[in-house]
Structures are given as C-alpha cells and as structure tokens.
C-alpha cells in the first residue's frame, strides 16, 4: 500500500471546484467533463468518479473512504485519489473550502 504523499491542502478539509468551473456528465461523449472559460477537460473513468465527489462537503479522506466502499478491493485507491487531486489542485480546478 502506497503511503499518502504530501499534498498542498489539508486532507480533512472539504474541497470544492474553483470559481467559474463546472463539472458535468456528457451523455453524448459518455464521460464526465470539467468546463471553464475557454476550455474543457475530459475526465473519463476514475477521474470522473473522484471529481463527482468534490462538492464542498467532502474532504480527501472522506472521498477515499467513500470510494473504498463503492469499489471494494480496488488497489492503491488512496494513492490514485491523492495523485489526481494533486494534479487538479495544481491546475487550479479545485480549492479547499474556506470556513464559513
């Protein structure tokens, strides 16, 4: 089992989409997409499953726990989620939700 990496946000703080970003399922393309001014990112498969849970209520740890329940036995889930959210954060797609 891979050790969680150092990530630039707290693993128990809820994360949300960055301002002006929208995430949705595209039936014609049969995948999830992330939409923003002047652009679009396709998020097929597991990337879409992770991003679906980035809704301002769930933290990284909560997302991992949920995915472990939804996909029991999937190897290296925590590492995959961490890697993806790190990339998403680095690209400015997501941010930690600031306390109310």
């Amino acid at each position: 089992m891979a050790q969680p990496k150092r990530i630039p946000f707290d693993q128990d703080t809820p994360i949300e989409l960055a301002k002006y970003y929208r995430f949705q399922w595209e039936p014609a393309q049969e995948l999830h997409v992330l939409l923003y001014p002047e652009g679009m990112v396709k998020l097929p498969g597991s990337a879409g499953e992770i991003m679906k849970r980035v809704d301002g209520t769930r933290s990284l740890n909560k997302i991992v726990a949920e995915l472990e329940r939804a996909f029991p036995g999937a190897p290296d889930l925590r590492a995959d989620v961490t890697d993806f959210l790190e990339v998403a954060h680095g690209n400015g797609w997501i941010r930690t939700k600031s306390p109310e």
Partner: protein, 389 residues
C-alpha cells in the same frame, strides 16, 4: 473513434459550437473576421431556428457555446437563446464589445445561466485615445466592466493587436487593469477577411512585436497572479503553421447568422465546397456526413510537402483558408510553414512591414461596414463558385 464492427469511421465528436448570431454591429473594425461579403447573405436565423440548433448540438455532444457576431447584443432574443442554452447544459460564453449591455439584460443573462463574458476592445485605438483623455467610449466600457463584476462574472478582456496599437501595449494593459481584468488576451491580428484586405496597414514590424512583448513581460512581473496575460504573436512571424481548429471538422462547429454551418469562421469563401445550412439539415448529418465537413479530414487530401511530413499530425498542414487565400489552393501547405514552396508569400509581406512608414500607394484602410461589404461582394463573387444548400 470507430469501434470494432462499426460500418464506417465516424469523425471525432465536436465539443465547441460557435453561434454567429448576427452580422449587425455598431462597430466598424478594420480587422473583423466576419466575411467581407456578409452584405449579400440571406436572412438571419429566427429565434426558433437557433433553439433547434442548440438542441441538435447538445445531442451531438457540443458543450462549449460561444455567442458571437457581429455584436450578439444586437439580437433582442439573446435572453431566450441564453436561457435555452443554460437549460440544455451548455457552458456559455458571450463575446461582446459591451455596447448595448444594460443591467436589465445582464440580470436576465445571469438568470438564464450565462457562464462567461468576454469583453473586447474592438475599437481599441479609439478607446485608447478616450482612455487617455477619459471620454465617452471608455466610460461605456467602464460601465460594462462594472456590470460584469457586479454580476460575478470573471473579467476577461480581449484586444486585437496590430501596427497601429502595438506601441500602446502598456496603456492597453493599464486600461485593462483599471477595469479590473483578471484575464487579458492580447491577440495579434490574424490575416483573414477584413484584416487581409487591410493587411499592409495592419502588419506590425518585428521591432514593434518585440517591444510589445517586453512591455507585457514587465507588466506581468508587476501584477503577478492578479492578472493572467496572454500575448499571441501573428502567425506570419512563425515558421510552422498553427494547428488550425485542431484540424478541419475535428472539434469546432461554426453556425453563421444565416444558418450556414462551417468548420471555422472563415471557410465559407473556399471555392468548390457546398456548405450545408441548418435550415435544411440537422447538425448530426452536417457533422458526420456532409461532404464539406469531410473534405479536409484525415490526411488523404494533403499534397507535398505535408503528405510525407513527420509533423503532419501535429499541425494538420496549418490552415486551409490561409492556404487558399494566399496560394489559391486550399490543399496546399499553409505558406506560414517554411517548408512550403510558397513561404515567400509570407516573408514578402513581413519584409514590407519592416519599413518605418507605409509606402505610397498602399491601399487606404477599409472599414467593415455594409457599404464596403456590398462593394467587396461584387468583387469576390463573380461566378458564385461557392454554393450553399
């Protein structure tokens, strides 16, 4: 992508729909990318016809929607179009000069689900002068920018750059900063349509470009992350062509004001192609099956040097429209490429631009207006070579 057992290779799915809602415009920009002969086109699509295009587009997989023109605010049904786009799940971007934007309208756009507004300094020279002297059109831009902020839209500015405003890059950036811009695109003129008619007038010198880029870099250092600034060089100064539209009929579908469907903003003037009209065909047929959209897909149509070029899947031979406009054959390599035997057409135009003053005999600047469009229509369509169905 074809799956095993499918009867034919379907083209890739498009995701970008650009709706040129109208060719009406209160401005007369000399670099406008609208067709020079727009004055002879048929009537604009009705509200219902646009709504049908939007519905068919979503079924086809289109998701990014650009609402442009002309000036899209000239359509008084823009609120209806935006609301339907929101309902259908498009991510909608309004591309506007801001002229005609009122609080009542922007409130309705927000309510309808408009995601993004790109404010253009379309008449940048005049706005610039006004900015320096703080007069009328700048105030108008100020009002539009204030509304955009008030309704919580990102502040995205676009300014088309050319010989007559590149030396004012600093002032343009300061103006954008004063208006609260978060994103600024300084895009050099691309030489099509009206800009091609005015090419010698608009082509910058190398020195101008280098100065403007240095000014932009210094400005970036000062503002840091507060403003994201893009500076796009004219392709005439490159030696490899742009991957125009990511390839013909690959991701982008343009519907013109009169309903003609095109793989880009400019392709309508290419001879020998019949571009389908959304009044007579649905978007699925247009995208997948119409001969026009299939003409320059793949690489079968390519000639040398593209045909055997190792970079052909990177840039797709460049732009078909530029190849036609400059060499007379849309299947030639885009002459921007220095491997093209026609590359001198580009370097000659660039060489002319290095002179400090325009030589005598250069055509006076031609403004985009109905009168000039009617005159250019008569010149550009002697035999009706391009038909529409």
């Amino acid at each position: 992508m074809a799956t095993a057992g499918s009867a034919r290779n379907l083209p890739s799915k498009p995701h970008w729909l650009n709706a040129e809602l109208t060719y009406k415009c209160p401005l007369h920009c000399v670099f406008c990318y609208n067709p020079v002969d727009y004055a002879r086109f048929g009537p604009e699509l009705s509200t219902d016809e646009w709504l049908k295009v939007l519905r068919e587009g979503r079924e086809l997989g289109l998701v990014q929607l650009g609402l442009s023109g002309g000036e899209p605010l000239m359509r008084d049904d823009l609120e209806i179009i935006i609301a339907e786009a929101g309902r259908l799940g498009y991510y909608t971007n309004l591309i506007t000069s801001g002229i005609g934007l009122t609080e009542k309208r922007i409130a309705a756009f927000k309510e309808g689900g408009l995601n993004h507004i790109q404010l253009s300094f379309q008449d940048s020279t005049r706005e610039m002068n006004d900015w320096i002297s703080s007069t009328k059109t700048f105030e108008l831009k100020r009002r539009a920018a204030d509304l955009i902020q008030k309704y919580d839209y990102p502040m995205v500015f676009n300014c088309v750059m050319h010989r007559h405003n590149l030396d004012h890059t600093r002032e343009i950036l300061e103006m954008a900063e004063a208006l609260g811009a978060e994103y600024v695109e300084l895009a050099n003129t691309q030489f099509y349509a009206w800009a091609l008619v005015n090419r010698d007038q608009l082509m910058p010198s190398r020195e101008q470009l280098e100065r403007a880029e240095a000014v932009t870099n210094a400005f970036r250092e000062r503002v840091g992350d507060r403003m994201k600034i893009y500076f796009v060089n004219p392709d005439y100064y490159e030696t490899r062509p742009k991957a125009c539209m990511n390839g013909w009929g690959s991701v982008f579908l343009n519907v013109a004001a009169d309903g003609v469907a095109l793989p880009c903003h400019e392709a309508r003037m290419l001879p020998g192609l019949t571009f389908p009209n959304v009044r007579n065909h649905d978007l699925r047929w247009i995208w997948n099956d119409s001969p026009a959209f299939n003409t320059y897909r793949g690489d079968e149509w390519m000639k040398e040097p593209c045909r055997t070029c190792p970079e052909k899947h990177k840039d797709f031979g460049g732009c078909r429209c530029q190849a036609y406009l400059l060499t007379g054959d849309a299947a030639n390599a885009d002459p921007v490429c220095d491997l093209s035997p026609n590359h001198h057409l580009i370097t000659d135009a660039v060489a002319r631009a290095q002179r400090p003053d325009l030589p005598a005999g250069v055509q006076p600047i031609v403004f985009r207006d109905d009168k000039n469009s009617r005159r250019l229509s008569a010149e550009t369509a002697p035999d009706d070579a391009t038909t529409v169905s």
